[in-house]
C-alpha cells in the first residue's frame, strides 16, 4: 500500500494544501467583520477615552470579543447535570462553590469562544474616515480669506525649458503631427519638444494651529479632564484632514496661565481659583509670537467646568473678542459632570455672548462619555456649513 507523503520524491512540488491556509483565510474574514462591527458602534468607540493610549498616536487599540456564529441553543439551566468518572459517592463535592461572588464559571470551552477577547488595532485615519461617512459630512475646505501663499502650479506647455520638465508624451505627439503633415522629416526636431510650464500662483494657506486651553484648577476632576481630552483628540484628527500642517499648543491655567507639552498638559493640576482671561491672554500672546494669522488658521478650544471669577468676565470677553477677529473658530467645552443646566455657567455665558456678537464661537456641554459623540458631530457640522 503506497502512502502518499508531502515530502515523497514523486511529488516534489508542494501539495495543494500548502498553497494557502483555509483557516487563516476565514480568520482574516472574521477580523474584517469585527472591524465592520466596531465601525457600526462608532459612537462608543469615539467616546471611549481609554483608546487614546494606542501606540504612536496613529493607531488605536480596541479590545473586542470574538464574533459568535449564533445557533439555536437551549437556555442555560440553574444547574447542569453531566456524567463523570472516578471515585466518589453521592453528595461528594468535587468542586466547592465559587465564593468570590462573581457569578458562575464559564462553561466548557465551546466553539463560540464567548468570553475571549482580542485586541485589534485600528488606524486613526480609518476611524476619521468612518466618522466622516457616518456624519455625512462634506470634506472641509480651508477657510477662504486666510492669507495667500505662493505656490508653483503647472499650467500648459512651452517650447523652451529645462530638461527636467520635458514632457515626452506631448513631444512625441507633436513629432507625429508634424510628420503626418509633411509626410517626411526627421524623427524629432527641436521644435517638437514641449516643456511643462510652471506659474507662480497664490494659494490659500494650509496651515493651522489648534490652541487648547484648559482650566486645571482644583475644581476640575480627572474624569472631566478625560472627557476634554477625548474631545480634543477627535477635533485634532478631524482638522488634520483639512490642513496640511497643523500645530498644537497647550495652555493650562488657574489664576495664572502656562504653556505645556502635550503629555504634561493632561497631567498637570494646579491649586487656587480660576481666572480664565489669563489663558486667553496667553493664547493671544502665542498668536502674536508664533502663529501669525497671516499664515495660520487659528482654532481655540477652552475646556473648563464653567466656573470663573465673575470679575474676570470683562477681561475674558475683551481677550476673546480680539482673538475672534483673527481666529477661524473658538470653542468652549464644558466638562462639568455635576452641572445641572448645561452652558448656564459663567464661561458658558461668555461664549454665548461671543456667538451673539457674530464671532465664530460655540459651546459644547460634555457631561458623560456619550456626549462626546454629539459634541463632535455638532462641531464638524458647524465647520462644514460655514
Amino acid at each position: 500500500m503506497p502512502i502518499q507523503s508531502a515530502s515523497s520524491p514523486q511529488s516534489g512540488d508542494r501539495r495543494w494544501y500548502d498553497l494557502f491556509s483555509r483557516g487563516a483565510r476565514d480568520w482574516l474574514r472574521h477580523n474584517e467583520k469585527i472591524r465592520e462591527a466596531v465601525r457600526s458602534s462608532l459612537p462608543d468607540l469615539v467616546s471611549e477615552s481609554g483608546i487614546l493610549t494606542g501606540s504612536g498616536g496613529r493607531t488605536v487599540q480596541v479590545p473586542v470579543r470574538f464574533l459568535e456564529h449564533y445557533r439555536f441553543r437551549l437556555g442555560t439551566p440553574e444547574t447542569q447535570t453531566g456524567v463523570g468518572q472516578g471515585r466518589g459517592s453521592p453528595g461528594d463535592v468535587l468542586r466547592p462553590a465559587d465564593t468570590s461572588g462573581e457569578g458562575g464559571r464559564k462553561g466548557s470551552a465551546g466553539d463560540g469562544g464567548g468570553g475571549v477577547e482580542l485586541v485589534i488595532e485600528l488606524k486613526v485615519d480609518d476611524i476619521v474616515d468612518w466618522l466622516w461617512e457616518e456624519l455625512a459630512l462634506p470634506n472641509l475646505k480651508p477657510k477662504t480669506g486666510a492669507v495667500q501663499e505662493d505656490d508653483y502650479v503647472r499650467t500648459g506647455w512651452d517650447r523652451r525649458g529645462p530638461r527636467s520638465r520635458l514632457d515626452r508624451r506631448r513631444s512625441l505627439k507633436e513629432a507625429i503631427k508634424r510628420r503626418n503633415v509633411s509626410g517626411t522629416g526627421p524623427m524629432f526636431t527641436d521644435d517638437d519638444l514641449r516643456y511643462r510650464q510652471l506659474v507662480k500662483k497664490p494659494r490659500p494657506s494650509n496651515d493651522a494651529v489648534l490652541l487648547l486651553a484648559m482650566d486645571v484648577s482644583s475644581s476640575v476632576t480627572e474624569d472631566e479632564r478625560k472627557l476634554a481630552k477625548t474631545f480634543f483628540f477627535w477635533v485634532l484628527q478631524g482638522l488634520r484632514r483639512q490642513y496640511q500642517h497643523i500645530e498644537t499648543a497647550f495652555i493650562a491655567h488657574t489664576t495664572h496661565a502656562w504653556e505645556f507639552t502635550e503629555e504634561e498638559f493632561f497631567q498637570v493640576s494646579g491649586h487656587g481659583g480660576t481666572v480664565a482671561s489669563r489663558a486667553f491672554v496667553k493664547a493671544q500672546q502665542l498668536v502674536q509670537e508664533r502663529y501669525s494669522p497671516a499664515r495660520y488658521n487659528i482654532y481655540l478650544f477652552y475646556a473648563s467646568d464653567g466656573e470663573n471669577f465673575s470679575e474676570d468676565r470683562r477681561a475674558s470677553l475683551r481677550a476673546l473678542r480680539e482673538l475672534g477677529q483673527l481666529a477661524s473658530f473658538m470653542g468652549y467645552v464644558e466638562t462639568g459632570l455635576s452641572i445641572r443646566d448645561p452652558l448656564q455657567t459663567e464661561s458658558g455665558e461668555i461664549f454665548r455672548r461671543l456667538t451673539q456678537e457674530g464671532l465664530p464661537a460655540a459651546g459644547y456641554p460634555l457631561r458623560a462619555e456619550a456626549d462626546v459623540w454629539e459634541a463632535i458631530r455638532a462641531f464638524f457640522k458647524q465647520q462644514s456649513e460655514t
Binding site: 508531502a6 483555509r22 456564529h69 445557533r71 472516578g86
Partner: protein, 453 residues
C-alpha cells in the same frame, strides 16, 4: 519512515482481513500538522469558506500551539476511504493510527446508518465537499462575498436541523389531501341519507389543498430551500449543499462512542496480534494507546466528562469477551450510540468504570448526585439527541409567506436561549424575506413568541 510505515500497513491490512474486518480500500496520506488542524476545524479537508470556521481555527491553533490537543488521525469514510496521518507523529504512533483507521473503515462500511448516508451522499465526501466549496466560490464571484456570506450565516446556523429519516433527495409535499375512502354504508348512514333535505354528500369529492407543512417539519434546511418563495436559485443551492454535508456528518455524530470505541478496540487487538512488529514498536504504540484511551487527563483521578474512546473501547472489549465477535459485529452493524449505550452499558460495568452523575450549579459547586443506570444513560446521551440541537420544527407556512417555527420545549425540558434565538431569526429573515416567528418558552416557562423585525 514512509517505507517502514508502508510495510507495516501492508501487514496490518493482511492481519485485519484475516480477523474478518471488511472495508473499502483506504488511501493513507502523510500531511503536515497544520493541515490536520484545519481538517479538525472544518470537518473536511476542503469545505465552504465561512468566518465562523476562522474562529474555531484560531482556537484550535492556539490550543495546538500550547500543546493541549494533539490530533492523531482523521479519516473519511467512502470508497476509497481517505485517512490523513500527521507526518510529525512517530513511526510507532502512525502504525497505531493505521490500525485504528482500519477499524473506522470497517465500521463505516458496515454500520447501517453510515451505509444509508453513503448511498445518498456518495462515496467520496472529500471530493464532493471540495466541489461544493468551489461552487460557493463561484457564487461569491457572481453575487458578491457578502451576499453569499449572509446565506451561509443562515444555512450553517441551521446545520443541525435536518431529518435523516427522510431521503436526501426529497420531493415537495403532496399538493392535495389524499382522498379518504367514503364512509362505509351502515344502517345509520343509509337512514340518515333519506332524511328530507339531506343530499348524498359522500359522492361529491372535492380536492382539498393540503396544508404546508402537513406535519411539523424538522428539516428546516430543506423546507427553506424548497418552499422559500423569495429565495434565488443559488441561495437554495447553498441551503441544499449545507444540508447534504449535514447528512454526511449526522452518523459520524450519532455513532461517535461506538465508532471510536470500535477503532480503539481494533487497533489494540491488531497490534497485540501483530507479531511482525518489533517489540519496541509495540511497547511505544501501547503507550500511545493508553494515552488516548484513558478516562482521566494527566494525574487527575476524576473527570467531569466521558472520554468516548475509553467508554466505547471498554464496552466493545466486554461485548467481544461475553458475547463473541459475531455478536459484536451484529451490534456494530445495527446500533447507534443511543441503543448501544442503553443496551450495553450495564449497571455492573458502570460501577466498574466508576461512572457517576453530577450537578453543577451556577455558583460553581459541583456535586455527585447518583449512580442510577438509567439516568446515567440519559445523561450520557442527552447532548447527542437530535444532532445536538434543540427540537425546532416548522409548523405553519401562512399564505402571506410567514414562517412559523415552534420549539418543542416539553421534550427538550426547557426553552431556548432567547438572545441567540433572536440572532438566528435575524440570519433567517434575510433569506426568507418574509416574517419569521418562533414559539418557545422563557426561563420561567412562560410562552414567548419571537418575531423577526
Amino acid at each position: 519512515m514512509r517505507q517502514q510505515l508502508e510495510a507495516n500497513t501492508r501487514e496490518l491490512e493482511a492481519l485485519a482481513h484475516s480477523q474478518g474486518l471488511d472495508y473499502y480500500p483506504v488511501d493513507f496520506e502523510l500531511v503536515p500538522p497544520e493541515f490536520m488542524t484545519e481538517v479538525a476545524v472544518y470537518g473536511l479537508p476542503v469545505r465552504m469558506p465561512h468566518w465562523s470556521f476562522g474562529v474555531r481555527y484560531i482556537h484550535q491553533y492556539v490550543q495546538h500551539r500550547m500543546g493541549h490537543s494533539r490530533l492523531f488521525e482523521v479519516v473519511f469514510p467512502g470508497n476509497p476511504g481517505r485517512a490523513y496521518l500527521s507526518q510529525n507523529n512517530s513511526l510507532e504512533e502512525n502504525t497505531l493510527v493505521v490500525a485504528h483507521v482500519l477499524g473506522h473503515a470497517d465500521f463505516s462500511r458496515n454500520n447501517l446508518l453510515f451505509q444509508r448516508t453513503q448511498e445518498q451522499v456518495g462515496y467520496d465526501i472529500v471530493e464532493l465537499a471540495a466541489t461544493r466549496a468551489r461552487q460557493i466560490a463561484d457564487f461569491a464571484e457572481a453575487h458578491g462575498v457578502e451576499r453569499v456570506e449572509r446565506v451561509l450565516d443562515a444555512a450553517l446556523a441551521l446545520e443541525q436541523h435536518i431529518d435523516v429519516n427522510q431521503p436526501l433527495r426529497r420531493g415537495r409535499y403532496p399538493e392535495y389531501v389524499a382522498d379518504t375512502a367514503p364512509p362505509p354504508r351502515d344502517p345509520f348512514r343509509s337512514r340518515f341519507g333519506q332524511l328530507p333535505g339531506e343530499t348524498s354528500h359522500g359522492t361529491v369529492r372535492e380536492r382539498r389543498r393540503a396544508p404546508v407543512p402537513p406535519h411539523p417539519e424538522q428539516d428546516l434546511l430543506w423546507l427553506v430551500a424548497t418552499y422559500g418563495e423569495q429565495l434565488e436559485d443559488w441561495e437554495r443551492d447553498i441551503f441544499l449543499m449545507v444540508r447534504e454535508e449535514s447528512f454526511y456528518f449526522q452518523p459520524v455524530f450519532s455513532c461517535q462512542i461506538m465508532n471510536e470505541g470500535w477503532a480503539s478496540y481494533w487497533h489494540a487487538r491488531l497490534l497485540r496480534e501483530a507479531d511482525f512488529l518489533p517489540q519496541s514498536l509495540y511497547l511505544e504504540a501501547v503507550r500511545t494507546h493508553s494515552d488516548v484511551v484513558r478516562p482521566y487527563a494527566g494525574e487527575d483521578q476524576t473527570a467531569l466528562a466521558i472520554n468516548p474512546y475509553h467508554l466505547g473501547f471498554t464496552l466493545w472489549e466486554r461485548i467481544v469477551r461475553d458475547q463473541g465477535l459475531d455478536a459484536a459485529r451484529a451490534i456494530m452493524t445495527q446500533d447507534d450510540d443511543f441503543s448501544f449505550v442503553r443496551n450495553q452499558l450495564t449497571e455492573e460495568l458502570a460501577e466498574e468504570l466508576r461512572l457517576f452523575r453530577y450537578q453543577a450549579s451556577s455558583d460553581g459547586e459541583i456535586r455527585i448526585t447518583d449512580f442510577d443506570i438509567n439516568d446515567l444513560h440519559e445523561s450520557i446521551l442527552a447532548p447527542k439527541f437530535n444532532f445536538g440541537a434543540p427540537r425546532i420544527s416548522v409548523t405553519e407556512l401562512r399564505t402571506d409567506g410567514t414562517l412559523v417555527l415552534r420549539h418543542d420545549h416539553k421534550t427538550d425540558g426547557r426553552g431556548l436561549d432567547l438572545r441567540r434565538a433572536r440572532r438566528v431569526l435575524d440570519y433567517l429573515k434575510h433569506i426568507w424575506r418574509r416574517p419569521v416567528i418562533l414559539h418557545t418558552v422563557d426561563e420561567q416557562g412562560g410562552h414567548r413568541i419571537l418575531e423577526s423585525a
